[in-house]
Symmetry: C2
Subunit: 635 residues, 2 copies
């Protein structure tokens, strides 16, 4: 069923200025500073199982929960991101640190393979008693992903073997066989990790366990939900659960996954699960699983997504609420959820080369996900609001630091989202300057894409097969683009995209060049009339970037500005601003307060004067101190 | 300094249809149903000091606080409201119930006069140790107001004598004399009650204690704040306080009251205190206190007030935030705060006959305060939002029922806000049908005002002095009114209002009639350009009423509607709707979703079709089940 496969980032060079800068920042600043933060916040120390057991660093909340239970995952994610950095360039000091972490994990591991530092240190008697809340399997997933990444980067398999012992223990504990617990992760993630391990090792047991977790989820064998059974075994009433009102929608365990059609609950859990479902649909040619993915995809992209590619409006459940409910100033839109959407979209694209998936991937990548990391590479957004009175500012760290390392592992591996490969086809999903050499149609083909994307839509792709080779080059024509033009070796070719891709099949020869011209005028976007929070407002977009306005770029307070209806929008490159960006300039009106008088309300509206509105890319906001911001502008 | 005095409601007959209906509902339905609720929620029982001490009905919150500490105030407020009902018509059953409550309070009272059922029952050793949080003096205030009201209604003074013993105990305990505690109420209210007791009894000690509380508040004798000293005496760190960040702004104890110029903190506490300050400014001819009231008045009415006459946008502190910060869908705008504003405005109006004060009184009365009570008289709003997605609905009761009896005591005494009296002047502040007989310029004058206000601005005032009498009749020309006309005995007189009042001085004779014509077209209101939440929006007003739109009156979802800019607004009376109201009808545009397609965002706006928008008075909303609502409409 899977027609394309992704080309790993380690085989892709990221050469274009936009992503090269972000990648370098992540490699040189973000990943090292994250290690310092893991140390400072006691996370690094926690896997040494310190004795005596120290008091909690993160106190328990009103429901008795502490985020400290998932510190193992932060270790796993940092190792994963750092291993990606090693794939770019080896670094003895980083390798020593990772080896030291592996030493600690190896020492911590129980003789039976069990490995969870929280439980081993603080409540060894309670292992596997609360999958619903305590992230045991989630932690295992992130550690396993770290182990796979470190193996790929260095060839060293000690961590992978440690994790194999743990996975063997998990597989012995959970399953539908006699004496096994029919449990599955309360927070999905391990499923994705297991599929990575399956691809890395070729060992079927990883795939089998992932398949079990997805198939078992939300079933009620004998009429009993596993999370209920587990709660009763702890002596608790299953109804004493924070999200009992929605019947396990919170963790997408309310229904068997193939019966799910509405995107509900915690957004990150949802997106990780959908990504794993897409993987398994491909592995098993599972049409029902693919159909569920497609239904969920339609639901989320057509009714439950921010214009910035953010997901999950509500802080309460860190997730989804109702169709078309997309508040701006209280948007949650967790960075992790957009990173996870990128994982899902990449997998859908491999199942089915449809530009819709690549459009979504690009939207989430360039906007909500990238906004999660500051330009200096050391400050973060956990939640990505679309409107702020200036009080929403970046964190140097977060008590729940999941997003910090999700964005570093994403950027460190961004090259992995650029190309798709089939037997006799290569697809280019993302532009911005990259190169790779791939086996296509029996020979090696080198591709080199150069452009100043996302600032400019003129793309040049050099195609260099070893010899002459006949294959299809599929170049994505983004959904946001109207009037794309293409030339092969200088000769215009008609642009008739098939599901979002211009497919050029020919006998390619060294020196062949395809040029693509993707017009990217600055545009207004309107939301569906049922998104009440955006009624009467427009968002600005240029190419893949959604824009916002920050008060410091305007000459009046933001709330007094409205964009002129229908007036032209100009794009202007500002090389010195925010690391070099293209701004959008529009004519606007500013309400005047000077002559208003002392009344708070009156029958005459305020007079307006002409003004200019300046928009900057959303990903770049909040890099200049506290500052009111809006994505959706009054017209 | 006080130039006018209010005419007590017991001397005013409320004859007009609008208030007559509200008053009858409160007398026949609200007050009896509130007694049932006091019984059902254990509040009635709590003053019997039940043994053994029952578990809490209202569990403590995360900060250790339970609203149960101020149940005495609910008893006091119900007695006050019920006593007002008795002033309208005596009722043996109600009087027996009140007598039984007084029996309980008398039994509960300690030999030294102390009377607080929470402390007497649950922690007698802790009396007077936490004025900051525990409402001991606030409770005393509401009980005292109940005692004064019951004395006025029945002439029976047993309750008043009980409360006098308690006040004597308070006055002995608190003060600046040797051995006294320099405390004052954490929640202001007692000050107002003491001034009422002073007026009822003529005993100066009540006035003196009120004066002490206001003068002492926010001072730091010896550099120490009383609430800090008290916290340390409890063995607590004063910084362990919910609102420590704002330095006692929460209870307006951050500065001596004469130095306060910004309206801050908990809105109800603020408004009760400002009302007491206005009273004391009049009692003592205290220019500094009056100037503080005026500065605070300007601050709140020019920068911190909802268009509906609601106060305090934030749930966090039940109070004020920043200038021009007036969110609609999260508005707190507590019913009690508007009731308290009415108290304050009435006092300012007596200090200074200025229509600004009466305009404010009327605005709060007809809109935010009245919205607190359902048309059936048995459902309530505690917080009064200006926009709702349909989830904000009325309560049959509230775990903190302060608002329920604030609105019943207000409506039961609404006649008391109609007239102002000076030696040779009578002022009519409110219209709507009323009558009274007053001593003016040495004789008795009967006034009878008839109108269908607030639906119609044609007012007829019959002036019937006992004989011929020369005095000034001041008729309010509302601030919202343009082009008022007046006739005396059919002859037009010029309308040149002096600070909001048309003053007619003449020798009045029986049979004299003044007719006033107050045009009340439906109008758009605009908010100050710095109220960001209302930018690009308008509110509808007609006469004293602010309107809203409820989704059930429209033929499309509310969020799809926008009012046509500048199109005429029509007023139409609907006798069968919501107890008989005038609706406002405007031409509008409705965004069409039918042909929108599957995209959530697109570059083309939705087409619009002509539509009609129907507005209903804000006070009448949420009487027909859950229903989206907006006050501020897109244009």
């Amino acid at each position: 069923m899977r027609t394309y496969s992704s080309v790993p980032f380690s085989r892709v060079s990221v050469t274009g200025p936009f992503w090269h800068e972000r990648l370098e920042t992540v490699l040189t600043r973000t990943i090292p500073s994250q290690l310092r933060m893991l140390e400072k916040w006691d996370i690094r120390e926690s896997i040494r199982l310190p004795q005596p057991v120290p008091p909690l660093t993160q106190p328990r909340g009103p429901n008795g929960f502490t985020v400290q239970v998932f510190w193992d995952s932060d270790i796993g994610k940092w190792i994963e991101a750092a291993a990606y950095a090693l794939s770019h360039r080896r670094d003895e000091e980083v390798e020593r640190e990772i080896e030291s972490m592996i030493d600690d994990l190896e020492r911590a591991q129980a003789p039976d393979g069990y490995l969870n530092c929280w439980y081993l240190e603080r409540e060894p008697e309670n292992r596997w008693t609360n999958l619903r809340d305590n992230h045991e399997l989630y932690n295992a997933g992130h550690l396993l992903e770290g182990a796979v990444a470190y193996f790929h980067a260095t060839g060293r398999d000690r961590f992978l073997r440690i994790m194999e012992r743990f996975v063997d223990h998990i597989a012995a504990t959970f399953g539908s066989g006699p004496g096994q617990k029919r449990g599955y992760p309360g927070h999905q993630e391990l499923e994705l990790a297991l599929i990575r391990a399956w691809h890395a090792t070729g060992q079927r047991k990883y795939l089998d366990l992932a398949t079990y977790f997805i198939d078992e989820r939300g079933t009620r064998p004998g009429g009993v939900h596993y999370f209920d059974e587990e709660a009763r075994a702890r002596g608790e009433d299953p109804k004493d659960y924070w999200f009992a009102d929605s019947g396990y929608e919170y963790s997408q365990a309310h229904l068997p996954v193939r019966e799910q059609t509405k995107v509900v609950g915690h957004a990150v859990r949802a997106m990780y699960m959908y990504a794993a479902m897409a993987d398994l649909a491909a592995e098993h040619d599972d049409a029902a699983l693919k159909a569920a993915c497609e239904a969920l995809w339609r639901d989320v992209t057509e009714r439950r997504m921010y214009v910035t590619g953010g997901f999950g409006p509500s802080e309460r459940n860190e997730g989804f609420t109702r169709d078309y409910d997309l508040p701006n100033d209280t948007a949650y839109a967790e960075t992790c959820a957009s990173v996870a959407m990128i994982f899902w979209a990449a997998r859908m694209l491999n199942l089915d080369l449809d530009g819709h998936y690549a459009d979504m991937l690009e939207l989430a990548l360039y906007n909500n996900a990238l906004a999660g990391l500051s330009l200096d590479g050391e400050h973060y957004f956990y939640d990505n609001k679309l409107e702020s009175d200036g009080s929403h500012t970046r964190w140097a760290w977060h008590r729940c630091p999941c997003c910090t390392m999700n964005v570093s592992r994403l950027v460190a591996s961004v090259g992995g989202y650029v190309y798709g490969l089939a037997d006799t086809e290569v697809a280019v999903h993302l532009y911005g300057g990259s190169g790779t050499t791939l086996p296509v149609a029996g020979g090696q083909v080198t591709l080199r894409e150069t452009s100043n994307y996302p600032w400019d839509g003129r793309i040049r792709v050099e195609v260099a097969p070893e010899g002459a080779g006949r294959f299809t080059l599929s170049l994505r024509i983004p959904g946001w683009c109207q009037g794309a033009a293409a030339r092969v070796n200088g000769d215009a070719v008609p642009v008739v995209p098939e599901r979002g891709y211009l497919r050029i099949t020919r006998a390619w020869a060294p020196g062949d060049v395809v040029e693509l011209d993707l017009p990217m005028p600055a545009e207004r976007l309107h939301a569906h009339p049922d998104v009440r929070q955006d009624a009467g407002r427009v968002a600005l977009r240029r190419g893949p970037l959604v824009y916002c306005v920050e008060e410091r770029d305007q000459d009046v307070p933001l709330h007094r500005l409205r964009l002129d209806d229908g007036a032209p929008l100009l794009a202007r490159h500002e090389p010195a601003l925010l690391g070099g960006i293209t701004v959008i300039e529009g004519t606007a009106r500013a309400a005047e307060a000077k002559a208003w008088g002392s009344a708070l309300y009156r029958t005459e509206p305020a007079p307006e004067r002409p003004a200019t509105l300046i928009g900057v890319p959303y990903y770049a906001w909040a890099n200049r101190g506290p500052n009111p911001m809006q994505v959706w502008l009054r017209q």
